[in-house]
Structures are given as structure tokens and as C-alpha cells.
Symmetry: C2
Subunit: 336 residues, 2 copies
């Protein structure tokens, strides 16, 4: 499968590496808008570089990295495009993919309607088959779908309440805030995340509340769940042990904050200290009759990477869900 | 009523001003441990300054601010001591208050058992009468008691779930973190706040989850409430409108974060930009059948100040709860 990555920012760079690591995929090229060190690094890695348009081509040439062409040249020559452009730019790009008759994967910054299908591998891989377009949901939604889909299947979820403390900015985003405040993001309830989870899990009753806090290291979710049947902490942990792409850690071992999770990923020599798994603190899990509670961490830069790789296979191959997830996990170093 | 303030830090300084502002109280003096600019400011304000012990007396003299004596000298000469010392120092001071036969008010950093009675004016002022010791609960507990006591009375609370995003440090605390992480504080659920609310409202079923985030501006609570009866947003707002010491604000008016609340207090020329009220975002209030949700802000440095003033009256006067709260509110500029 020949793959183009359109956009080479936070997600695009990671997807390029992930696609290049798959034996059943070929990274045909990456499309870059801005002329910066990231463009130079792409060329140094040997990735075929394309400019977004003629203006970008000129700027990139001035930087000394000559693109092989512009976006259309690349897109015409691949089986599928993964659009990793900023929010809403993907929607604007859709016309190009339609004009050139290419399959495309959009990111969670786009509305559900851009693709008409919102994807999380362990929830609905098979249903994505044969589609021209799918949308991989955002980092927060991906993490929630992994955990809630699993617990709903095991216990039946009557209602999920989730408070999302969002990281204010990625580590290299120096222009964003807040720097000394908790922002209500938004003030109104629910935040958009509840609706977004329902694009993947339409039956789930969920309310989300979101705040933004001054950190670059991961989002942190507080889950307050009402189950259809009384359960125990052991049973919830057992269900989580069998949930794919989940990392279970414990506070007693020193995981006291989001920063310690990222530090752990560095020690494990994960590429870019990426945590592809949804992270659950084992000792946060509490069950009280039909109520269950836990803390869930989300590495915003990384968690959607395996989903995008699987989405490529769902659209372009006959590989089954379990096999695709196994291949993806193996190449990225995800244990299960 | 002659009042001593033992401890002149974040809370003690505010209490000294608040007590000095009451016409039925006399600030007999403040006790200081460290020789720093705060001691000098106390003297400049004309507050009788006492050293915690002989060592402090020597240090304060070296700073050029001569104390009138040591703690015991002051405490022997007052009707009541408000202990505003750091966590657990208050418990150690209790023996002194007992030895000298003085009434005392402790802060929320102490355990409930230190006083055997935990106080929030609008919940249990009258029950504090005749006691030698009471404990004013912590900032987070005070805010939760104000809101939950009111809503429980109006609708019946079947269960309260609360996620508390705590400010990492007060504005002048330069040694505390985190500076780029969300700490789980603690990892285990519930946090101590649920138990602490039950020291004031013993019947309430409540679970709290706490995280710590890099900001100095207020705590921010997300409330997820199950009510005994279905209700509407208008009915919840109506109940909040009639809850004492609550400030209702709206995101539409530009209150998008904790920092805008503090900025508002500055504009209102509140002493030290103090927000004595629990703060509820009006447009965050959401009711869905028997579930209700809202965001609640807590100025950690200020919210317990009016409670301490009322606690003094509850222990040392015949003034009724409503009249005490009216007097306190009037002197501090609290609308209701």
C-alpha cells in the first residue's frame, strides 16, 4: 500500500515513521507547508518531500531542501492519503482527494461528517472496510473509546461522567496558554468530547466536562462511571488487563503524575517518548457497588498513531482487525 | 471579644485584618515565628506583635521590630485564639490553649479530632455554641459544604462526584511544584476531601478525586451530582441564587478561567484580591433529568476568612448565625 502523509506536524511526523516501519506499506512521501527544520529532518530521513503548493515549494527551496513536487503530484501517485493537516484544513483538502479519486484518512480535528465514519481500531475496524474516507478520532476520544468500549462490554455502562484536564500546549508550542490559570474549556457542559465519543459508540450515555491547565505533558481524565451491575475493583482491573492498547501503571511504583509517564517512555527509549497506549493508574481504580472510578492519562501527541496505521489497513487491505493491530503494535512496541 | 491570631501567614494575615474590621472584636495581637517583611508590615499596621518563642523574639529584634512578648503572654490575655499555624502545628498548640484555659479555632490543615467539631457557618453555626474548640474546614471543603448543603436541602443529593483540580502553590510559594505536569493527588480514590465534607455534612454520599496542576490562581471543582428528584437548570440556579457566600458569574461575560475571577477581585479593589465567596459559573450549570453538573471555583487563600470570623462569634458571643454572617459579610464586602 502506497501511503502519502499530508501535513508534517505533531501527528504527521509520527505517522511517517510509523508507516515507514510497516512491511506491508510504503511511505510514498510527505507534504510540508512550512520551510523549517522539520522539513530538513524529513529529507535527512530519506522521506520523499513534497511542497503543499508553489509558495511552499519556493520557501522550501530557499531553505535548501528541494521538494520533489507539490501535493497533487504525490497524491496522484498513492493508494491512500493520511491527512494530518491542522483542524479544518483537512476538510478543505477533501475536494482534492475526491477529484483525484483517492482514499483518505482524516484526523479528529475535523468534524465527523467530513468522513461520515469515525474510527477506533478496537471498536469498529471491520465496519470501516470498503470506505473511501474515515476519520480517526481525537486523542481524548480515542482513549475514552478504548476504556469505555471495554467496560461497557463487560459491565454495561449506565452513564459515564468524565472530567478532562487538558494539557495547554504541546512541548514546542510556545505561543499558547494558559500559564497561570485553569481555563474552563468550555464553560458550558458537556464539552464536545461526549458527542465525539458518540460518533464511535453511539449508544453510550456520557457527559464530559473539560478544563485546560498549564502543562505540556498529557491530558488527564477523571472517570466517574455508573455500571448496570455492581462490581469489584478486581473485576474492573481484570477487564482493563484485557483491554488492548492500555498501559496499567501504579502510583506506588512512583507514577504520581503525567510527567512520570513521559519519563518512563523516555527510559523505555520510545521514539519521541511516545505513549501510544491509554494509561490507567491501577491503584486509582475504585469500585463501590455499581459505581466505578479511575484516572486515565492520554499522550496527546501519540495515542492516535496506531489507529491511523490500522485505518490504512482497514481501507486498503484484507487484513483482519486483530492481525492489523498485532502488526501495528509489534512495530511500535505496544505490548498488547 | 479580645482575639489573638497565632500564625501570620496566608490565613493569619487575612484574619488579622478581618478581625480588626469587626466592631464587636478587638485584635489583641498576632504571633509570628519568622522575622521577615510580613512581621514588619504587621507592626506598620499597628498590630501588637508577639514572637512565637524566645528564638523568634531574638530574630524579630534583629530585624528591628521588637515584639511585645511571646505567644503565652498574648494568649493569657485574650478570650479566644485563632490558630493559623501550618498543618499539624495547630494540634501541637492545643496543649497551650488547654493549659491557659482559652477557647481556640483551628484551621482545616488539622484533623477533625483536634477540635471534635468542624465548622461552616451556613451549615452548623448554632451547633458550635458553648464549645471551647472548633475547626474551620479547609478551603475546598468550605466551598463544597456551601454548595452541597444548599442543593441537598433543595433537591436531596443521592450522590456527589467531585473532581478537584488544585492549584499547585500560592502566588508567593516559589518552592512548590509541579511546573509541567498534572499530579494525581493522591493516585487513590477518594481523596481526603470526601471524608472532610462528611465531618460537616455526615449524611452526604460523596466521592472526591483530586489532581494538582501548575497554577497559583484558585482551585477548580467539577461537580457531577445525582439528585433525588429530576430538576431543571433554572431550579438549580434559583437554589444557588439563594445560597449564602456564593458568587455567580458567567463565561459569556468573559469569565473563562480562574485568572479572570482573580482579575475581577482586583478590579473590585478587594483586599489582596480576595474572593471570599465560592464561585459558580452560571452557564456551566446543567441539569439532565436527575443529574446536575457545574464548575465551582475556590480562592484557597481567602474563602475561610469569613468562616473564622463567624466561628469567633459562635464561640464567644450570643450573636445568632444570620446576624453574624450579616456583620461579617458587611465588613468584608460580601454581597450575601
Amino acid at each position: 500500500v502506497r501511503v502519502a502523509i499530508n501535513g508534517y506536524g505533531v501527528i504527521g511526523r509520527r505517522l511517517a515513521d510509523a508507516v515507514a516501519a510497516q512491511t506491508d506499506m510504503e511511505l510514498a512521501g510527505v507534504v510540508k507547508v512550512r520551510a523549517d527544520y522539520k522539513a530538513r529532518l524529513a529529507v535527512e530521513k530519506g522521506y520523499p518531500l513534497y511542497a503543499a503548493d508553489e509558495k511552499s515549494r519556493t520557501a522550501l527551496k530557499a531553505l535548501g531542501v528541494s521538494p520533489r513536487g507539490v501535493a497533487d503530484d504525490l497524491i496522484s501517485d498513492v493508494d491512500i492519503v493520511v491527512d494530518a493537516c491542522p483542524d479544518e484544513v483537512g476538510a478543505a483538502n477533501k475536494a482534492t482527494y475526491q477529484r483525484l479519486g483517492r482514499r483518505a484518512i482524516f484526523q479528529g480535528g475535523e468534524e465527523h461528517d467530513v468522513a461520515g465514519f469515525s474510527f477506533v481500531a478496537q471498536c469498529n475496524y471491520e465496519a470501516a472496510r470498503g470506505r473511501q474516507f474515515v476519520r480517526v478520532v481525537s486523542c481524548n476520544t480515542t482513549a475514552l473509546c478504548r476504556v469505555l468500549h471495554s467496560l461497557d462490554g463487560q459491565f454495561g455502562l449506565r452513564r459515564a461522567g468524565v472530567v478532562i484536564a487538558r494539557r495547554a500546549a504541546d512541548p514546542d508550542e510556545t505561543g499558547k496558554g494558559p500559564i497561570d490559570a485553569i481555563s474552563l474549556d468550555p464553560v458550558t457542559i458537556p464539552s464536545h468530547h461526549a458527542h465525539d465519543v458518540n460518533t464511535v459508540l453511539p449508544q453510550l450515555k456520557i457527559v464530559t466536562m473539560a478544563i485546560k491547565v498549564p502543562t505540556t505533558h498529557m491530558h488527564l481524565h477523571s472517570l466517574l462511571l455508573s455500571l448496570a451491575t455492581p462490581t469489584s475493583e478486581a473485576a474492573v482491573l481484570e477487564a482493563l488487563e484485557h483491554t488492548p492498547r492500555l498501559l496499567l501503571i501504579t502510583g506506588r511504583e512512583g507514577f504520581k503524575s503525567t510527567a512520570s509517564v513521559i519519563d518512563y517512555a523516555r527510559e523505555k527509549k520510545r521514539s519521541r517518548n511516545d505513549v501510544y497506549e491509554a494509561v490507567v493508574w491501577r491503584d486509582s481504580v475504585r469500585a463501590d457497588d455499581s459505581e466505578a472510578y479511575l484516572f486515565l492519562g492520554v499522550h496527546q501527541e501519540a495515542i492516535v498513531v496506531p489507529e491511523n496505521v490500522d485505518a490504512i489497513r482497514a481501507l486498503c487491505s484484507q487484513v483482519a482487525a486483530a492481525e492489523s493491530m498485532r502488526l501495528t503494535n509489534q512495530t511500535l512496541g505496544i505490548a498488547r
